[in-house]
């Protein structure tokens, strides 16, 4: 990258800089005119100069000028106006000039702003582009947060500076020079004095500022390191807490902040010292003018008029000069920042842009063998992890790599996957070096998966299809405003040197997944999810998600229809007691009392809490149903039990997780409340206290809590009160309860709850697993499985995929590679997080999947388990970074048989 910011700006904005310079020069004309005008107005129409009598007129807007040789040229003799007329006309001209000046300023500022923003966009893009082309070794050494701070924050001031980079010095320099020349013309000696002071300022101040620059650079580095450390703390919070090293981190951060403070304070001190000196020098000049100029005037060597003119002219000098010095400061500041950033991003060797050039055409299959030729790979410390390996994988061949962690097989696979670059030797396909081939070929025809997974924040489906998004494949047709916007986007992207690939286009390369379009892609997705045994996980995510039934009307209908199918199925399998269904006419013992009473769920718990406390509706209904007193008694019983059970436990005791009625913090409050109300009849208890007791009932489930509080009679009463709650619900409470209706989809409940339409019983330990299996089976038999699965693909995996387990992430990663149609698959122990049995199963399935049909891609698999070698054509065994055995599977097995016999 260009090491000097000024040159960088000049290269990319030359034309615009010249244009803005021209505009600025033009804007000077009305600017100076507007200086002159007030004098004309005061002298002319107001004081009457030029107007000899009351009726006298003067020409307005006369255009005439003197030309040498021609004499006076009169283009327009002007309008004759009287004093009032002239006053009005000149005032209007003044107003016009004000507007014109304003407009010029507006135009110049927006233009400069736009120029700066474009350049900022260009720099930022260029930096990210370089990150995408960094060699792999370099990326291991830099902290991501530091890179992002550089791109986000540190280049920011460069945009602001761009507009001023050339205009400002030209303008201010011009002004200062004009003033200086004027002074020189008035009085040579005084002019020399002014020039000397200016020179002193111009020499000393920048020198003093060098220290400022050093400090500025340190400030930038320490701030960047701080952001790196903070992100490290966030990423490593688990490790920090587990090892009780939080105070070490505190100390580290405090020390860093102290250092930053020291630098910044130093910076302030210098800055204001420089400012002081600068101001002093600016002010010392008039002192010299007054003293020396005055002395000259007294001596009679200088006339007073000249002195006044010089002092007047000097007023215009310090302003531009100061701004010029400030500009220079800003220039050096951004130059330092720029140089810093450029240094970090100037890494050799960067990947050639041609290698990553976009290609919308499908890559032709690779016909040559993938081979390592005399390959050595070194780790960061420089020691060789793989030495002088030559290994060839023919198209269609399956090669297992064994030898354990220190063997070197993993390093070889990483080199094949282009995660590391060879120290010596080459990796070739046919005759071509893999690093010279475009990524559009090797990145598509070779698939790589390891146990080191990166999942992007977004949906599970997006992550699964990530490996297919090579290029925008469709041309999106925009209409109306969006078309205009798209055109604007294209122009702007071009002006800022950004690519104009359309993010809204369909980037998914269906052919690369062996599908023809979006419609049959799902079959492939389903197939790979099955292979990596992720279907059930995805389905589990799907059934736990809530959907909007108005958006998926047909699907919601099918789910509702499934309810009866589930009942029949459970009856047929004699498992009816697994789920207790919601029946409008009977009490559901596995659901809470609250659910039974409302016969629905609360959709907005905050409003519900408020309503429970303040709305008279609940109390009146409870009273009318004869439940008020019963519930109060029941609540008391619950409170007594809970307080007795949990009173002695510390608030962080894990048993509190089992407590649903109240939080650990509320226990003392309820203890006090019990003391207060114990033995009193309900009438004497205050309303608030009664409600606090009664609300405890709502969470009670008899089979779970087993306090023995629900009688047949009470259940009957609760069921009878349901109608009152649903029919009599006042208008201001509508919407906080969603009622259970056997024929309607409940938007606030998950898909699974909608299928069950009931609660899973507590009696069976594995009840929920069994139900899940049955529901899964039902989905399959009713042809709903894929429809449900789609909702699972919408699951947001979180930053870095953290909402998935590490096993799920690795499965996803493997699926991401399998869904791509490639010629070579390199699997570098992709499933380490799983247990051995599952690893074996998935490996076999993946093998079957890749060997299915016409396709016969080559497979290179770094195996942890020796038993699986039977699947492969060849086994390459590594020890200490060297290939010690490379033999076909059959001979190897007979060989070992022989050895066994011999021993």
């Amino acid at each position: 990258m260009e090491p000097f910011l000024s040159r960088y700006i000049w290269t990319h904005t030359r034309k615009q800089q010249l244009w803005i310079l021209l505009v600025v020069a033009l804007s000077m004309v009305p600017y100076f005119l507007s200086f002159d005008l007030p004098k004309q107005i005061v002298n002319g129409p107001i004081q009457g100069a030029g107007f000899d009598g009351p009726e006298a007129t003067q020409p307005f807007l006369a255009i005439s000028f003197d030309l040498p040789f021609f004499g006076e040229v009169n283009l327009f003799s002007g309008f004759d106006l009287g004093r009032e007329g002239m006053l009005l006309a000149l005032s209007l001209v003044f107003l016009l000039l004000v507007i014109i000046n304003g407009l010029f300023k507006f135009y110049i500022n927006t233009y400069k702003g736009r120029l700066g923003e474009r350049l900022l966009r260009r720099i930022r893009f260029e930096l990210v582009d370089r990150v995408l082309r960094f060699p792999p070794g370099y990326l291991k050494r830099v902290k991501p947060a530091e890179i992002s701070t550089m791109i986000k924050d540190e280049v920011e001031p460069m945009g602001g500076f761009t507009g001023d980079a050339f205009v400002q010095p030209a303008l201010l320099g011009g002004q200062a020079l004009t003033a200086l020349i004027f002074i020189l013309l008035q009085s040579f000696w005084l002019g020399i004095i002014a020039a000397v002071i200016v020179a002193v300022q111009a020499i000393i101040i920048p020198r003093m500022r060098r220290r400022l620059l050093v400090l500025g650079r340190e400030r930038q580095l320490t701030a960047r390191e701080l952001s790196g450390r903070v992100s490290e703390i966030v990423d490593g919070i688990g490790t920090i807490r587990a090892h009780d090293t939080s105070n070490y981190e505190r100390a580290d951060i405090a020390a860093r902040l102290g250092r930053i403070f020291q630098i910044r304070y130093d910076l302030y001190q210098w800055k204001f010292l420089v400012k002081f000196l600068n101001n002093f020098l600016a002010q010392v000049t008039p002192f010299l003018f007054y003293s020396i100029g005055g002395y000259f005037a007294l001596q009679g060597r200088l006339d007073i008029g000249q002195l006044v003119a010089v002092i007047g002219a000097y007023k215009d000098l310090p302003g531009p000069l100061k701004e010029l010095i400030d500009w220079d400061q800003a220039r050096q500041d951004v130059q330092v920042k720029y140089a810093q950033v450029v240094e970090q991003f100037s890494v050799e060797p960067l990947i050639d842009p041609k290698v990553q050039a976009i290609s919308v055409n499908p890559a032709a299959p690779l016909t040559g063998a993938l081979a390592a030729v005399n390959l050595s790979v070194a780790d960061d410390g420089g020691s060789k992890v793989v030495e002088h390996i030559s290994l060839q994988i023919q198209p269609g061949e399956a090669v297992a790599i064994t030898g354990g962690t220190s063997g070197g097989g993993e390093a070889l696979a990483e080199a094949f996957g282009r995660l590391t670059w060879p120290a010596t030797g080459r990796i070739v396909i046919g005759d071509a070096d893999i690093h010279d081939l475009p990524e559009a070929v090797v990145g598509r025809r070779i698939s790589y998966a390891s146990s080191d997974v990166f999942a992007f924040q977004g949906s599970l489906g997006d992550n699964l299809l990530y490996g297919l998004k090579h290029a925008p494949l469709t041309e999106v047709a925009y209409e109306g405003d969006r078309e205009v916007h798209r055109k604007w986007e294209l122009v702007e992207a071009k002006l800022a040197g950004n690519p104009h690939y359309d993010l809204n286009s369909d980037w998914i390369d269906y052919q690369a997944a062996g599908a023809t379009g979006p419609d049959d892609l799902f079959t492939k997705i389903r197939a790979v999810l099955d292979v990596v045994q992720l279907s059930n996980d995805v389905l589990a995510l799907a059934v736990r998600s809530t959907i909007d039934p108005s958006e998926h009307e047909a699907f919601a209908g099918e789910i509702v229809a499934m309810r009866s199918a589930l009942r029949q199925r459970l009856e047929a399998e004699k498992l009816s007691d697994l789920v207790v269904f919601f029946e409008p006419g009977s009490y559901n013992v596995e659901a809470t009392v609250g659910e039974n009473l409302l016969f629905g769920t609360v959709t907005d718990s905050n409003r519900w809490e408020m309503a429970l406390e303040e709305h008279p509706f609940f109390k009146t209904v409870l009273k009318r149903a004869g439940l008020h007193e019963t519930f109060y008694g029941m609540g008391l019983e619950i409170a007594e039990n809970v307080v007795e059970l949990f009173r002695d436990l510390p608030p962080d005791h894990p048993f509190f997780q089992q407590l649903t009625f109240m939080t650990a913090e509320e226990i003392p409050a309820y203890e006090a409340l019990l003391q207060k109300v114990r033995g009193k009849p309900l009438e004497e208890v205050s309303e608030d206290d009664a409600i606090r007791i009664i609300r405890l009932c709502f969470g009670y489930i008899e089979p779970r809590h087993r306090f023995g509080l629900l009688t047949e009679d009470l259940m009957q009463k609760i069921v009878e009160a349901r109608r009152e709650f649903s029919d009599g619900l006042p208008a201001d409470l509508v919407g906080i309860i969603e009622h259970y209706q056997p024929d309607r989809y409940m938007a606030s409940s998950s898909i699974l709850d909608n299928v069950l339409f009931g609660r899973i019983g507590h009696k069976h330990t594995d009840g929920s697993e069994r139900i899940r299996a049955i529901v899964r089976d039902l989905f399959e038999s009713l042809g709903l499985h894929n429809k449900v699965l789609v909702f699972g693909l919408d699951f947001d995996v979180g930053a870095g995929g953290k909402r998935l387990t590490s096993g799920q992430r690795q499965k996803l990663n493997l699926a991401r590679a399998l869904i791509r149609v490639s010629d070579f698959y390199i699997f570098n122990q992709p499933l380490l997080a799983l247990d051995q049995r599952t690893q074996d199963q998935i490996t076999r399935k993946a093998f079957a999947f890749l060997r299915d049909g016409e396709r016969k891609p080559a497979i290179l698999w770094v195996l942890a388990n020796q038993d699986l070698t039977e699947l492969f054509d060849r086994v390459a065994h590594f020890e200490n970074g060297r290939l010690v055995r490379d033999e076909p599977v059959e001979t190897r097995s007979t060989d070992s048989d022989y050895k066994e016999l011999a021993s």
Binding site: L645, F655, H705, K763, H764, T765
Partner: protein, 154 residues
Amino acid sequence: MLLKDEVEMLRRITLFSGLPPAKLKLLAFTSDRVMYSAGEDLFNQGDIGDAAYVILSGNADVLVSTPNGQLKVAEVEQNSIVGEIAILCNTPRTATVKTTTALEALRIRKDDFLKLLADFPEMAVEIMRVLADRLSQTTSELTEARSRVQRAEA
């Protein structure tokens, strides 16, 4: 069956008999009541142990798999506890427990059980006593078996 009945049941188990009733109630409250029909497995040999079971009613067989199929080594009935070894030593289940009648049990989760042990050392001592009892019994059985083998070889 209610919480207080469960407390009564727990009290009859030697392991828990020394605990104050309030703690037994807490133990019962934090545990799950589970039901099995005849012929179901509470857990299988080799599983990871995640809970112990107190049999409230019904009977079950303790089975160990041997090369010659499953061997019944013991029988458990009302008021006994099974599965505590696996959650104490973090080992896989040493045996399979299969119900012979309909069975009702209290399932005490591992974390809760360990927490109780930590909170009530007298319970830990009791556990030690029960285990030591079992060990001495096993040792004597082993001695007997060995001597029988020796006699047979001789």
